[in-house]
Subunit: 133 residues, 2 copies
DNA sequence: TTAAATACGACTTGTGTAGTCCTATTTCAT
DNA sequence: ATGAAATAGGACTACACAAGTCGTATTTAA
């Protein structure tokens, strides 16, 4: 609970790695071996990051990945959103239809939790990959 | 991912409720009906909050629960810790033995994630139940 | 003595996480 | 052309956790 998924961690490690080698093209094999990450899992993470336009893929032999923008313009929140495929929500009613929560109408904590949600967004948005290198 | 559990939400709703009726004794039945919470689930949540000394139980007929301290001295973090039974950790290495993570030695993001962890703790610690009433 | 309440363990069901396996496609280099 | 190196992506398994249900024991006021 309240834990980042391994996929997100792998994504952060990979992006930070590419930034650390000055945005030179990097492969899944290279990264997975260097950080002991299962290559199949990392491969799918990279594909999601590509679809999310955080990195750019270069297919074929001698291919790999490079960053799609500066490391100072990629936040932890960006990585979370792209990999999870949805907005981060501290409670059900923030990430899906509020009506899905059977308690919604009687709920007395959604507003205060909204404040917490907002503060968490500030934290994740303000931490950029460039600070991690 | 990064979502509070229903147990925690139920705990917050219950504690807020007791505070809202000026710390008068309140029963599981009363709270579960008022907020449409499954009573069995709420019952176990209340037992955990009791063991965690956030609320006090009064057994037997005419029994129920009251707060064990002022609503301004119960934080959202307190509720999370007591109900989850462990410290909140944004990554495995913050809530259990770091060695459990097979990547730990090669991990390049644990320090930056530590900063995020610290900021999240600030957010959850600063929000008190008294602000929710 | 009875009824109302908490205490607590066992169980089921559903969802999500992490990882594996297999195949297709793209592209560079020979 | 061909083969090797790389990304693309679907199908599947194993496991852990979340949420809820059920049954029973214990406590205590009236
Ligand atoms: S409505 Fe209340 S209970 Fe339902 S998800 Fe939002 S916060 Fe949680
Ligand atoms: S060590 Fe790195 S990868 Fe392992 S849990 Fe901590 S942060 Fe996540």
């Amino acid at each position: 609970m309240l834990k980042l998924s391994k996929k997100v961690e792998y994504g952060l490690i990979a992006i930070r790695h590419i930034a650390s080698v000055n945005n030179q093209i990097s492969t899944v094999k290279e990264i997975s071996e260097k950080y002991s990450i299962p290559s199949d899992v990392l491969a799918k993470v990279m594909q999601k990051l590509t679809k999310g336009k955080l990195i750019t893929s270069h297919q074929g032999a001698m291919g790999g990945y490079t960053l799609a923008r500066g490391a100072d313009q990629i936040s932890v929140m960006n990585v979370i959103s792209v990999i999870e495929g949805s907005q981060m929500g501290i409670a059900q009613c923030f990430s899906e239809e509020p009506e899905n929560c059977s308690i919604y109408l009687n709920c007395t904590i959604k507003n205060p939790l909204g404040k917490i949600q907002h503060n968490l967004e500030l934290v994740f948005n303000s931490m950029k990959v460039s600070e991690i290198v």
